[in-house]
Symmetry: C2
Subunit: 253 residues, 2 copies
Amino acid sequence: MAAKRKTAQTIRRQPAADREAEPAGDNLPANGSNGGQAGAIRRRNVEKILKAAESVFAKKGFAGASTAEIARKAGVPKANLHYYFRTKQDLYGSVLDAILEVWLDALDEELVAEADPATALGNYIARKMAASRDAPEPSRLWAIEVIGGARHVQPFLRNRLRRLVKEKSLVIEGWIAAGKMKPVDPAHLLFMLWAATQTYADFAAQIAAVLDRKTLDDGIFAAATQTITDLVINGTGARQTLRPVRARAARKA
Amino acid sequence: MAAKRKTAQTIRRQPAADREAEPAGDNLPANGSNGGQAGAIRRRNVEKILKAAESVFAKKGFAGASTAEIARKAGVPKANLHYYFRTKQDLYGSVLDAILEVWLDALDEELVAEADPATALGNYIARKMAASRDAPEPSRLWAIEVIGGARHVQPFLRNRLRRLVKEKSLVIEGWIAAGKMKPVDPAHLLFMLWAATQTYADFAAQIAAVLDRKTLDDGIFAAATQTITDLVINGTGARQTLRPVRARAARKA
DNA sequence: GATTTTCTTGACCAAATGGTCAAGTCGGGA
DNA sequence: TCCCGACTTGACCATTTGGTCAAGAAAATC
């Protein structure tokens, strides 16, 4: 699932915190000059390594992850990993870059002024919940990075994300002004939506333990989506169009 | 203000994952036999170390934290740290134990059957938000631990927390049955409350960056609390008693 | 004041870490 | 066939890691 990942490569990356804004244009390969398109082998290996890195970083954080473990998980010798990504920082940065892009999409595409709030919010929640179910690891890595101080993604937060939140706040305020929903603070509404949906990725272990499951199955995700949607729709008074809300029972199971 | 931390000491702790249930009675000092009460020096130093450890673990996670950094932050030589806590695991376990107790209190005390839902939910949200403001670090450590798979707190989750959630679900179902609020899945409602409130501790860096602040000030916390409360009260239809909801404006600021 | 116990700490150690390197293998174009 | 650049990898290295130790300084106990 997830999304098409851009053909990430390596770059001579500064401490990353310093980089300005836009999450890096296309990167340069670690060796050779090959500025153009990468060979098939390269692409395949980079992919393998990024995937493994995402998983390990998501579990241990930057400091806790070891390149050896990532290499092992990717099925390549450690030296090979360092052939594609000069440093651990580079690798971490590349993994984050791949995530950041995806992060914005759902928000950007669903919360548009033309839609009515109930539909837009419902679809957005559904999409974020699907992401928590199908690709929890990026969410976890994101969380670990932000909890740790967001040093590496500060520019992204301060620029693209801030801009997008402003933009979407206007959309929501438009809905409010049009009487389509009750007044709410748009930014805090967004924070709540992110929190409520991403918790099913980030805190999956806790939720599963409390609900006495080994993993979070589809039923739980359905119930959760329903609960959140109901609460937000009712809470914001965002009834408007039809949108056939299937009255799924949503018992605790 | 946080909570009274129990006079934590050290213990010859197994991998911690294996320990059963209840988060350890009182622990044994690392050296000597002193099973009884600890000397003042010991208590003071243990306190200093635990505090430093909480902060470092909360930023880097277990694997990423180094005992040297913790010792430096606590202002003691590393060897002294290891005098009080034999291993890093011990230290981590002790820090977690101190947090777990506090975790349950708010939930347990606010969501009682006698209260009416609007008051209870409002107070609970307020309390959790205050915790996110005044003591964000425990929340962050908790998050990192759970994201990493919750290996060390699995017993706590499976026993005490699960039990408490069941108990509180009954309270909420009671309210629903009494027509005091709309039907919701109680467990998922709780997950949402935790997510929405703790996000202001865990994701403070992101929220601050998006809102163009250096830190989250009281105004932001007030607006956030208001937004969440409104949403939950309206969303669950938990109007009942008076509860003079001061109609604070809650603009984005 | 003597003795025993608790505490303090610099020096030390084996293991793990991020990263390098040089000597290769491979595959495709001339 | 030869060549050349892309890829592979075991061996290696300096640094950091968690943890120990022994010898001494302070407290507590008598």
